[in-house]
């Protein structure tokens, strides 16, 4: 089977990862997965505001997933956060928190802001990929990067890296994030219908895709630091 855009079932879309593109943020990254384009910025660790959210023994990581009004294929989206955006902010926060060494920064907050600039499927996993790079760019110690993809089902077949068309007309969608080096799943959602066997196969296909994303993430980080080193004449 070939997919609508010509990809093989287990093939990712063309990807682009850039680290450190925003000057004001402590860390930032820009990610393209096909036409899906997201930007992530990290501020922190810093004094929490309001202060009552602080934790005596660890940092609090907050995340905000937000879609630009012009980012959607449909008519302009209101900038007020939808219920969907609030839920995704929560699961993204949890997916990232699992990886960050929060205990190293008690009584602080780490803010992760994600803006979806163009939405063409799999925006939440693109967001995690970008946010994970932004955290690394901010120098925040992590157990591992978090890498993510989604697996779908279309025409009875499992497919990797679901785009907007496949999301709308497919039979299932399984977004997954992992710390690839540790084999730990930090985000897992699903909607649609899958048999138990298909579900297990979906996890395995996701793992394959995640390893590819992980390589691209590490490459982007290396390039950023090599650029800095060059600049300083190392």
């Amino acid at each position: 089977m070939r997919r609508r855009d010509g990809r093989a079932p287990d093939q990712l879309r063309p990807m682009k990862f850039e680290v450190g593109i925003l000057k004001n943020a402590d860390g930032s990254a820009y990610v393209e997965m096909g036409l899906t384009k997201v930007i992530a910025a990290v501020y922190g660790p810093k004094e929490p505001h309001p202060r009552h959210i602080l934790m005596p023994d660890r940092a609090v990581l907050r995340a905000r997933y937000h879609m630009a009004p012009f980012s959607v294929t449909e008519e302009r989206k209101s900038p007020a956060p939808s219920r969907r955006e609030i839920e995704l902010s929560k699961v993204i926060k949890e997916a990232l928190s699992a990886a960050v060494l929060l205990k190293q920064f008690p009584r602080t907050v780490i803010d992760v802001y994600i803006e979806v600039l163009n939405a063409y499927g799999s925006t939440r996993v693109a967001s995690i990929n970008a946010a994970s790079l932004a955290l690394a760019d901010a120098g925040i110690p992590m157990r591992d990067l978090v890498a993510a993809v989604s697996v779908g089902k279309m025409g009875g077949e499992l497919i990797l890296d679901v785009d907007d068309y496949e999301d709308k007309y497919g039979e299932a969608d399984v977004p997954i994030a992992m710390m690839p080096g540790r084999g730990e799943i930090t985000l897992l959602q699903m909607d649609g219908l899958l048999t138990p066997e298909e579900f297990i196969r979906a996890l395995e296909l996701a793992k394959k895709g995640i390893m590819e994303v992980y390589e691209l993430q590490r490459k982007a980080l290396r390039e950023k630091y090599e650029a800095i080193w060059r600049e300083y004449g190392f």
Binding site: R83, S97, V174, T186, Q189, G192
Partner: protein, 275 residues
């Protein structure tokens, strides 16, 4: 699901729970794959079109169904509409505050919605009154009255039971095109009951139906919803920890094992309530 600032469990209690788990036991004596005592009752809200209350241990949830007539979504002109909303009124917990639903209430509503929607439980295509312009709107309002953990499962069972008990007023289109609501009522068209099952992971152990105390120390939770014919129709991981591939598989198998019994319990309670 309670925020940490309000529900911090003493360290010694936490250590005690974990040491018991290491011996294969839970504080309240349950097995790892055992639900708390569950009580389901339908028809509790007279003004609603359908309703149910579920007590799962000390977790206490009411769901009321209200229907109205409105427009379909533009991209689904020949389907009725259903909306799941969850409120955490401040009666239920010292950590709930008056105000619009927070991220936890929104996640709860959306996870319950997903299991019901993706399983095609409600036959939405039968809720059309005038194709393309007038359809039934089904509001599912989850109301948490006491929070002692595992709100997703309790809410989902109450929602399913309330929907199973729902009787809608018949609506006819008059000669002049006006809609008329009749006194006569008809059941909501439904098929195949979806069941959510939630497991928590504490210190590497996986156990079903966590209490609030267990949730407050868990690494993560994993909810799976399964259809009557054994398919997975919704999954949601929560919490700031992680699961291994094998743990996910184990949770899936336990879920498939537990779901049929729970489904029977709900169907029995609905039948009982209708006598």
């Amino acid at each position: 699901m309670v925020s940490f600032k309000d529900f911090i469990i003493p360290r010694v209690k936490k250590d005690y729970i974990i040491s018991l788990l290491e011996k294969g036991r839970r504080v309240d004596g349950r097995g790892f794959e055992e639900y708390r005592k569950m009580e389901i009752k339908v028809g509790v809200i007279d003004n609603a079109d359908g309703s149910a209350q579920v007590k799962l241990g000390d977790t206490f949830v009411v769901v009321g169904i209200k229907s109205s007539i409105g427009e379909p979504y533009p991209d689904e002109p020949n389907k009725g509409v259903f909306i799941v909303n969850a409120e955490f009124p401040p009666v239920a917990s010292p950590s709930f505050e008056p105000g619009p639903p927070d991220e936890n209430a929104i996640e709860l509503a959306r996870v319950v919605d997903r299991g019901i929607r993706e399983s095609n439980f409600i036959e939405l295509e039968k809720l059309v009154i005038v194709p393309g312009s007038k359809v039934r709107l089904i509001w599912v309002d989850i109301y948490v009255l006491n929070h002692d953990g595992n709100l997703i499962d309790a809410s989902s069972y109450a929602a399913v039971a309330a929907l199973l008990s729902t009787k809608l007023p018949k609506v006819v289109v008059g000669d002049d095109g006006r809609l008329e609501k009749l006194e006569e009522r008809e059941p909501l068209p439904l098929r195949g009951v979806p069941i959510h099952v939630t497991h928590a992971k504490i210190n590497g152990k996986i156990l079903v139906d966590p209490t609030l105390e267990e949730e407050s120390i868990m690494e993560a939770r994993l909810t799976m919803a399964v259809t009557e014919d054994g398919k997975i129709c919704a999954v949601q991981k929560g919490g700031i920890g992680s699961f291994t591939m094998d743990e996910v598989k184990a949770v899936m198998e336990n879920t498939l094992k537990l779901a049929p019994t729970i489904r029977e319990r709900i169907l029995g309670a609905v039948k009982g309530g209708q006598v």
